[in-house]
Symmetry: C2
Subunit: 546 residues, 2 copies
């Protein structure tokens, strides 16, 4: 603070002019302003904002009855059913921290997360009783309280213990016995990274960031009132990119979806006039394929956010055909989901489809309420020139960046070195300032002093019609230091050989970028569908040392 | 802060994850993301976001060259020309506080404001050289530096001293030598109340609130990308309700307008496809009259925000006819402009026009990012029942409430008594939770223990076709304590008498609400068009004591 001036005197914060920022304010307003508007729809259930608010308040009371309070962790092992939406409000209402666990994880990882997070209570969808039971048996610490969340549409009969979600809610009065956090810096959620390397890390986010990113979603996507949002994106991925809170901020309607099922998605889009949804490229591709097969073109405007990987041209093209407008975003668990957006420019409308696909396929510019994204040389922290060629590390700075990693000060300090959050992704900046991801930092291949983007090599390989999936990693080489090695999963029936593929690549990319070795076979993926390159690298080491 | 938990350890704020909220971030992003998009249009001038950003940076350097720094006040006496838009960014860029003075004020009041604010520099539109010169001669303190802002379209030849805006900008390099405030609680603007009672008070607002209300405007009005906004609302009114900053947040285009001229407005709406504008009822009425006279119906969607008084039914109806959708908002200088919105409900679309006008005429509900508005009994601070009858005082709480009044701790403390900001307006709450203003607190008349809304009596009087304007105030009465007295401005040629009007009112409202005295003549108004009731009260006192 500089020296005191007349504006610093007698003008302090007080209860009337300062309130901590928290997305909990949004649900209180939604219940007051849109009490009768549908908030959550799931199969035949429909809860208005007043009802949803009441259910959240009652869930908060349930949590209090188990002694949950400020700083405790509450985990959920739930698909996109109403309970996970409600947990996004009820858990922070009691000052606790929501740990939404990926339902595709193996029991050992779930056990690790429950232990590390010190979760005191878990809401478990009864489809996942087995995983939860095994995880509990593998835990080192004290087992959490389990509340079963059965889904009438599934008919699972298994239970862990005798606590049931609806029965517990029903017993609670409708009191609104909750408060905003005393400090907007208080933790609101804990999300574990998918762990392409080693143990998952616990990303801690806060009320201030959740509030701001919820609003930033509205600005980024120009969300109007009366949005109907389909939950194709799991709420356990970065808290559904903060969209539960976004929906409360604008009084939108959430249509829940237990699993990505193309037929069901088409039906729900028609039935509820869904206007918005998010997902990885594979989700959009699934929708496009099913719609095209059914001859469906949506007769109301539908917008999709796409993230997780650059959208292939064919997906953009097919989505246009069925009447869906895609916007490309990029981010990480550490940035509460989307932190850049490929903001569309008016003049792009005049471009060819191919050029539009290329322009929209970039990761883009800073998300509206994030302060800054930059592509920096991590050794000098200087920005790379906007030449579309020089690679640097994507770094973020702003209020929509995590507090840090739970009980991991070293990883936290490394992530924030130099006053920027290091994403670990490598990108170039094009002349218009838009950034384009080229690789993961640890996946870049340095061959004879030249950086090779493994992504670029993978894209070349994937242009071959016989290739289903490809991953390229660095292989040690006496002469060049490193050279690219490719792991390739072929389509059924293909008899493509290593030399075929190498000569195919030679026509597409520079000689030094062509893989020197190709291994055929299925590729190992994480629970979120990312290829586990560290396992491929291990395989290379093993084969070279043997 | 409650006791420490694992989420409080090693997870502190740092340069990567905490940045003070300031609307200055918006213009930096707009210049980066929409460099070539028009930001400001005035007559034949058009500045892109990159150019506007460059002009703001250069204005900031000009201010620095005059020694302006953190905590200094910079005043402007400007209509809606590009310079006032630019000052909204440049002044806070150097840490200074923007004091936008109403151009309709008399020299004595301008002198008072320049003295009280300790303004060190003033940008003066050359049309207002005379007012400024007189004000300077009446000041008690040191005279500020004057920078002349000539307007080529006006041809004013007068200057105060030899400093000129464009010449000073032209001399500065394009350096971006500015920083965000160190603290988001730092003052950004100072706005003087219009002073219906006594001396104007200086309302101090901060970066955090300006940031949040700029975004709240987007949510409240569902502002899309590519907005073209017409400046019918003076930017010296509560910083144009934060809309200069809103436009930067969404990269919208501002069309400047020197004065409210119906022909010019219609032309600009057509020419630039203006999509949004704000104003008092009289602005909308002027537009409607002119459009109807010209047989104009806009062929693109146009939305208006209306505030300052409940919009008359005829205005709503006429705006619908010409294709403008109105939304009613309400707020005060102390709440950065709009702090409630009459949020539209889907079911209203089924209502009759009369009912829709009634519903939309209410002040409504909390603005999206304001925390709370309540109608409280100021003696008990308890909410009034939502019966549409019981009056209470409208109070606000949240981050979009001023820091306080400059160098006026007593007024600040009174305004924030009980942890809420007291608006001084009396309202009822209807069954759906929407509030409706009934009166100013100090204008309510207490007659035989009954509260009489002066607004209700005024509305009754104004239904008489001969009445142009009416104001009702309390008159002392030996029996009843107070009784209503009416001051009435008649249309030219009317020969209405006191007894005529009293008997007219007797058919409309309860007997005890009927004015006991009627005075005919022109009514005194402030520079913002508000009737100065305190002068009417003085007139009553003088006449009763004489």
């Amino acid at each position: 603070m500089s020296d005191t001036c007349q504006f610093d005197v007698g003008l302090d914060q007080n209860a009337a002019n300062y309130v901590p920022l928290s997305p909990l304010s949004f649900i209180r307003r939604a219940a007051a302003v849109y009490p009768n508007k549908p908030a959550v729809i799931y199969n035949d259930e429909c809860y208005s904002w007043q009802q949803t608010y009441s259910r959240c308040c009652r869930l908060a009371s349930v949590l209090q009855s188990f002694g949950i309070s400020r700083g405790d962790t509450v985990a959920v092992l739930l698909p996109n059913v109403p309970a996970i939406f409600e947990a996004h409000f009820a858990v922070p209402m009691v000052g606790a921290v929501l740990n939404a666990i990926n339902i595709r994880l193996d029991p050992a990882t779930v056990a690790y997360i429950l232990d590390h997070s010190r979760s005191r209570l878990v809401l478990v969808d009864t489809e996942f009783c087995d995983v939860a039971e095994k995880a509990l048996s593998m835990m080192e610490g004290e087992a959490p309280v389990i509340i079963n969340v059965p889904d009438a549409s599934q008919g699972d009969e298994r239970r862990l213990g005798d606590l049931e979600y609806e029965a517990l809610l029903a017993k609670q009065p409708e009191s609104q016995n909750w408060q905003l956090p005393e400090d907007e810096w208080d933790a609101i959620a804990l999300g574990y990274t998918s762990g392409t390397t080693g143990k998952p890390k616990g990303v801690v986010t806060h009320h201030r960031g959740a509030y701001l990113n919820a609003v930033s979603n509205v600005l980024s996507w120009s969300l109007p009132r009366n949005v109907t949002y389909l939950w194709t994106l799991p709420m356990f991925h970065c808290n559904g990119w903060c969209f539960p809170w976004t929906m409360a901020a604008i009084g939108g309607t959430s249509v829940c979806l237990r699993r990505v099922d193309a037929g069901q998605i088409l039906k729900l889009i028609r039935q509820h006039k869904v206007s918005h949804y998010c997902g990885a490229p594979v989700v959009h591709a699934t929708i496009a394929d099913a719609a095209i097969a059914a001859g469906e073109v949506f007769d109301h405007p539908v917008s999709g956010l796409i993230a997780g990987a650059a959208p292939p041209a064919s997906v953009f093209e097919r989505m246009e055909k069925i009447g869906v407008e895609l916007t490309h975003v990029y981010g990480l668990t550490e940035t509460y989901g989307p932190a850049t957006v490929c903001a569309k420019q008016e003049e792009w409308e005049q471009c060819t489809l191919e050029e539009r696909v290329r322009l929209n396929g970039r990761q883009g510019v800073t998300y509206p309420l994030e302060e800054g994204v930059a592509v920096l040389d991590p050794s000098t922290m200087e920005p790379v020139p906007p030449d579309g060629k020089t690679m640097g590390e994507v770094m973020f700075r702003g209020n929509i960046v995590m507090k840090g990693y739970l009980r991991n000060e070293q990883a936290t300090q490394e992530a924030f070195a130099g006053g920027w959050f290091h994403s670990g992704d490598l990108a170039v900046v094009e002349a218009d300032g838009y950034l384009k991801i080229r690789d993961r930092l640890k996946d870049v291949i340095i061959s004879g002093g030249e950086n090779i983007s493994s992504l670029e090599v993978e894209e070349a390989i994937q242009r071959h019609a016989d290739v289903e999936l490809a991953a390229v990693v660095a292989m040690e080489d006496q002469k060049w230091g490193e050279v690219p090695a490719a792991f390739v999963q072929l389509r059924a029936g293909s008899d493509l050989t290593e030399s075929d593929l190498i000569s195919f690549c030679s026509e597409k990319i520079s000689r030094f970028k062509v893989p020197k070795k190709v291994v055929f076979g299925p590729l190992p993926t994480t629970s979120t569908g990312k290829i586990q390159k560290f396992m491929l690298r291990k395989e290379l080491e093993t084969s070279s040392s043997s």
